[in-house]
Amino acid sequence: MNKVKIATAWLSGCSGCHMSFLNIDEALVDLAGKVEFVRSPIVDSKEFKPCDVAIVEGTVSDTDNLETLKSLRANCKILVALGDCAVFGGMTSFRNLFDPEDVLRRGYVETETTKDGAVPTDLHVPRLLEQATPLSAHVQVDYSIPGCPPHPESILHVVTSLLEGKDPRLPRELLHFDSRIKVRSDAK
């Protein structure tokens, strides 16, 4: 059987969505038998090989992010936005309330312990875009998994549904504001 090829990428965000993916724990072992990760998560190399499914965390916040996203879209059949940053902009888009120049100046010039600082501008660091935006502002997104981060069960549900060719829509009990599950009420 040909394994389904999955690429995952991390744009501007905290990696919590990828961590939540790892939190499927032992299900990772079963999944390993069915899929091939053509790119490791978190790696946003600018060129991607063709794959079946691309799963993307984070906002589009700098020039590297945009290039990565476009390359992924061009090389995948199904693109999934993973987590609030990718779906809505999330906390990463809080910076949109400020001018990017002011945000950078606070970080590299004004902070109290910083000495003789200047905003990095070398060609090896990407430029910030004017706004940090969700994936859908730039490319077509096929499925969205909301949550900060999405619950591991939600991620597993979507991935296994896609593998089985089923509608990956989340059942009602997996749609909540945050990643909490029933364990709390069961235990107390």
Binding site: G13, C14, S15, E26, S40, L104, G107, S179, R184, K188
Partner: protein, 474 residues
């Protein structure tokens, strides 16, 4: 041959994204090597104008791997703004949370990420050096890693209902008490999982012993070390004094952690979004120090739990009771800490007052400044907030754990480049060694890069004008 530049992109992930460039001179010798961090999000600006009460919910989003640590440092800074002493049980529950954080993070790093290098060898085919290969070849080990990581996260889940970005440490205490049922469950689990932690420690120590000089000398260099210490100079992660030791082991500084700014400055380089903290009484970049497991083991006088106590003594003896400078010894130090925090979690859980419901002291804010310093898995974490009299944030300064090691990671990259690149030739083995050197520091996210697959490396060779000459990739 003309001077040229080699770019390895992406190499690993630190609180975002990173890559390595190597500058060669006309003779093909390494003239410079740099580790670039290429992500910037702006927490220090966009928190301005928000109420300080929100910070323990916003700050964990800095990092999905050590989100608990950011929540704790933030809550400590907010306690100081409130001007309250939190209840004893709240402090113990926070310490329990932090033990869980170190356990899950160290287990993730060692069993998912570092074990392929340690067990299969740094020169193994990158296709095989991943956790799936470990699952095939050593399933019992892979399951131990999964079990330990889950135990740490189960602590978060039982306390808060979530495993990442929990809303549990709050200004003045914590948001929920521990039930007796959950306590009993966690104590039983802690006893069970301690064996797995001890196996991890044995694996790391055997690897160091068997590796001999090649492992001991890999990317080794002298540096200063920094970390918190508690009463009696013991290893401490929640709240202690900030100690800085010289490369020879002399205590250069030991200050209340709120005085961090009296010993740390940060430098900026145009080629990286990660700043470079350094010891402020020395010039930049000479004031390089290291933090994290190696830093903590080197600065503390000992550890106060039974199994880890002996292990720490053995570790210190290996360095002749002076600081241990071998970069690979980070792995050993990390496993000693894993055992310590398993023991410590059990101790805290068995405390008779742990299920008390006296867990929060509230107040209107009495102060307009708060500093929270704690040890995250990767090293010292500093949150510093200023507010106006209504509790609205006016200034934020953050120094994150991986940042402290920025100078050292660059130095390690330079050591590898000097040791293994000659005449501008790069082999697969050299790429692995860059990865392995950086991975010792466990910069945020290097772990997950490796956990589900291999770390792809692309090396661009550039002419001095920046034109692409050749690309190596795998």
């Amino acid at each position: 041959m003309t001077a040229r530049e080699i770019v390895i992109d992406p190499v690993t992930r630190v609180e975002g994204h990173g890559k390595i460039t190597i500058q060669l001179d006309e003779k093909g010798k390494v003239s410079n090597a740099r580790f670039h961090v290429t992500q910037f999000r702006g927490f220090e600006k966009f928190c301005e104008g928000r109420l300080f009460w929100e910070m323990p919910s916003i700050m964990p989003r800095i990092c999905g791997i050590c989100s608990i640590s950011h929540g704790l440092a933030s809550a400590k800074a907010c306690d100081a703004i409130l001007g309250v002493e939190i209840p004893d049980t709240a402090r113990k529950l926070r310490e329990l949370l932090q033990a869980g954080e170190l356990i899950q993070s160290h287990a993730l790093h060692f069993f998912y990420l570092a074990s392929p290098d340690l067990l299969l060898g740094m020169d193994a085919d990158p296709k095989d050096r991943n956790v799936f290969r470990i699952i095939d070849e050593r399933p019992e080990l892979a399951k131990m890693g999964i079990g330990l990581r889950r135990f740490g996260q189960t602590i978060f889940e039982r306390l808060s209902g979530a495993r990442i970005h929990i809303d549990y440490p709050i200004p003045g205490g914590v948001s929920g008490s521990l039930s007796a049922k959950d306590r009993d469950f966690l104590v039983a689990e802690a006893k069970q999982q301690l064996k797995a932690a001890v196996t991890g420690l044995e694996l790391a120590r055997n690897y160091i012993e068997k590796g001999g000089r090649e492992v001991e000398g890999f990317s080794k260099f002298r540096s200063m070390y920094m970390g918190l210490v508690g009463d009696g100079g013991n290893l401490e992660v929640y709240d202690g004094r900030l100690r800085l030791k010289s490369a020879d082991g002399k205590i250069l500084e030991e200050v209340p952690s709120e005085q961090y700014a009296s010993i740390i400055n940060e430098g900026v380089e145009g080629w990286s979004y990660l700043k470079f903290p350094y010891y402020s009484k020395q010039a930049f970049p000479d004031g390089m120090y290291r933090v994290g497991p190696l830093g903590r083991l080197n600065v503390c006088d000992g550890i106060d739990t039974p199994l880890a106590k002996g292990a720490a003594k053995e570790f210190k003896a290996a360095g002749g009771n002076r600081p241990v400078h071998s970069t690979m010894f980070y792995h050993w130090a990390r496993m000693i800490e894993l055992v310590h925090f398993m023991e410590k979690a059990q101790q805290i859980l068995e405390d008779p007052s742990i299920c008390s419901t006296d867990i929060v002291r509230s107040s209107q804010p009495r102060n307009t400044e708060g500093i929270g310093v704690t040890e995250a898995p990767r090293g010292t974490l500093i949150h510093h907030y200023h507010t106006n009299e209504r509790g609205v944030i006016t200034r934020v300064n953050l120094i994150v754990a991986t940042g402290h090691n920025n100078l050292a990671m660059n130095r390690s990259v330079m050591e590898v480049a000097r040791q293994y690149i000659d005449g501008g030739q790069l082999s697969e083995g050299v790429l692995n060694k860059f990865e392995a050197a950086i991975r010792c520091y466990d910069p945020c996210l290097s772990c997950s890069t490796h956990a589900v697959g291999r770390m792809p490396l692309t090396v661009d060779v550039l002419s001095p004008s920046g034109k692409l000459v050749q690309t190596y990739s795998r």
